[in-house]
Amino acid sequence: MKSTRATEEPAWVRRALLTAGLGFLFFFLVLPLAAVFTEALAQGWGLYAAALKEPETLSAIGLTVLIAVVALPFNIAFGVAAAWAVAKFDFKGKSLLLTLIDLPFAVSPVVAGLVFILLFGAQGAFGPWLSAHEIKIIFALPGMILATLFISFPFIARELIPLMQAQGKEEEEAAVSLGASGWQMFWRVTLPNIKWGLLYGVILANARAMGEFGAVSVVSGHIRGETNTLPLHVEILYNEYNAVGAFAAASVLALLALVTLAAKTIVEWRMKKETAMLAATLAPEKT
């Protein structure tokens, strides 16, 4: 006779929940993922490769990478600075600042794009001045970078703030008391402590930056070969009933998503391992 433990559900409940949970994930995650690649390869590898080699697709890939690469350093600098200020110091209005950092998570990407049009568009606040000086922001690269920054900047800060709060400031204070300068303290004490968290944030921010559709769509103007990122290109091809082309481009983005997931999982394991190690070595002696 097998007895159920006090903290376990009866076996039939466990089976039912597993079936429901895994079934849900199968229909909503596995099936779409499989469909992307199946559709991309529906007409064979030859057409798939040809679709990827289209100059417009290639230029869309290039633009996507360019925007992500430009946005990244800004996001890192902001994430580290904001986390440093919020986690290590007390000041008035901190919770307001945190709410502001969270805002892009809650704002619709379409609204995020619209606000830049209102500022820099032809009828926008700075519109006349910009056109007088022949500076193009909307329907051009700068606007797309701004929109990307808007929707991707919270990721690194949100990852680093709780991490740095949990780590406290004793180590940094020790470094300063031992005579380290600000930069020495940052490079030798702070950065090694947060490197995995930072990398985690970078992975998430990058995925968002490369995959953003709504905000970039509003400010891009959809100029083929010029202001067309890969997600926008997917839309154009799909609307032209070029399923293979659309799904070929989509498969590149899906691969990017899988790489993101893998990298994220690896970083998570590393972080878990390191916190476990730290907890073991720094734990107070048991009496």
Binding site: M1, S3, T4, R5, A6, T7
Partner: protein
């Protein structure tokens, strides 16, 4: 309700938590499971409660087999070390929980629930806290609420896992006395786990000393303290001086007097610090030593002696200390009034003699 534990064994991976445990607890007894951490005492308690299933062996409640009965059907009251109070419920709702989850046919009416919960809260003297949440209580109060909650379902057996472990000394002492009184009033079988020998000796009717998943000794508090069955029990209950090698002092005498023909194997002699007599003159069988430290600690004075290469700990009453006038560096003689010798090659059984007055 009596509890009968037969041949219980439990492993966690390769770690043997319990090895062939046999124990019988008659109705109404208050039993302490005493031992160092990792000795299996909590695992045994959890097996009795039905929260852990044994790999082998059986458990009988009042003669009926309960080994595979689910925890909720055992009618066991369990008090957790960290109380495990339901944090989103008031004190009242915590205590009422066991009554509210009864099947409709057995569930008392609301008024009856109210009456019984308030009676229990009165019993643990916390009826004025019934509307509070657990987070608003002190540790000692939480512990008493946990106890009231366990008692609400009128369990046949009360199990307590390190009930006072997380409390500070003052509260602990008070609760100990209180638990003893409560047990005497309720008269149900109770088992509690502790690593604190003082707690076990003070509260329990019977003490079960455990080590490495085995029972070392079962006996009344007085028995286990003054007549330990094994070196482990000797060392675990109270301070003790251990004389190891046969070349050294006391043990040479032991060997000559007792176990010459028995075996030349290694043996160990155990002497309690308060069983050592200090004199200024050499006496028959006494050993020479030098005084290293004298610490008055409350009612007793602890004296450390240097004998050959070993430190010997002695406890004297204040009167005796004043009569002796000991000072550091002074040469003195000492001899045990009472000691035990265990043959190390056969650890569980005392070697040869029961009480050794050797010297």
């Amino acid at each position: 309700m009596s509890i009968e534990i037969r041949h219980i064994g439990k492993r966690f991976g390769s770690f043997v938590a319990l090895d062939d445990i046999n124990l019988s607890i008659p109705t109404g007894e208050l039993v302490a499971l005493l031992g160092p951490s990792g000795c299996g005492k909590t695992t045994l308690l959890r097996i009795i409660a039905g929260m852990e299933t044994p790999d082998q062996g059986e458990i009988f409640f009042a003669g009926a087999e309960t080994t595979h009965l689910h925890a909720r059907e055992r009618q066991v009251g369990f008090v957790f070390q960290h109380y495990a109070l339901f944090r989103h419920m008031t004190v009242f709702e915590n205590v009422a929980f066991g009554l509210r989850v009864k099947p409709r046919a057995e569930r008392p009416a609301e008024a009856e629930i109210r009456r019984r919960v308030m009676a229990l809260l009165g019993l643990v003297q916390l009826d004025w806290l019934s509307d509070r949440y657990p987070s608003q209580l002190s540790g000692g109060q939480r512990q008493r609420i946990a106890l009231a909650r366990a008692l609400a379902v009128e369990p046949k057996v009360l199990l307590l896992d390190e009930p006072f472990g997380a409390l500070d000394t003052q509260v602990r002492k008070e609760l100990r006395r209180w638990l003893r009184r409560l047990h005497d009033d309720m008269h149900i079988s109770s088992v509690f786990v502790t690593h604190d020998q003082e707690e076990a000796l003070e509260v329990a009717d019977r003490v079960v000393v455990m080590n490495h998943g085995r029972i070392e000794q079962i006996g009344s508090p007085d028995e286990v303290y003054s007549n330990p069955a094994s070196p482990f029990v000797y060392q675990f209950l109270g301070n003790v001086n251990v004389f190891h090698s046969r070349q050294q002092g006391a043990y040479a005498e032991v060997e000559r007097g007792e176990s010459l023909e028995n075996s030349p194997g290694q043996a160990t002699a155990f002497v309690r610090p308060h069983d050592i007599e200090i004199t200024h003159q050499p006496a028959d069988g006494a050993l020479a030593a030098t005084i290293v430290h004298v610490h008055p600690i409350g009612p007793v004075v602890r004296v450390e002696l240097q004998h050959a290469s070993e430190i010997v700990e002695v406890e004297l009453s204040r009167e005796r200390h004043e009569a002796l006038q000991l000072t550091v560096g002074q040469p003195v003689w000492f001899r045990p009034r009472q000691m035990r010798v265990f043959d190390v090659s056969q650890p569980p059984r005392p070697a040869a003699e029961k009480q050794a007055f050797l010297f």
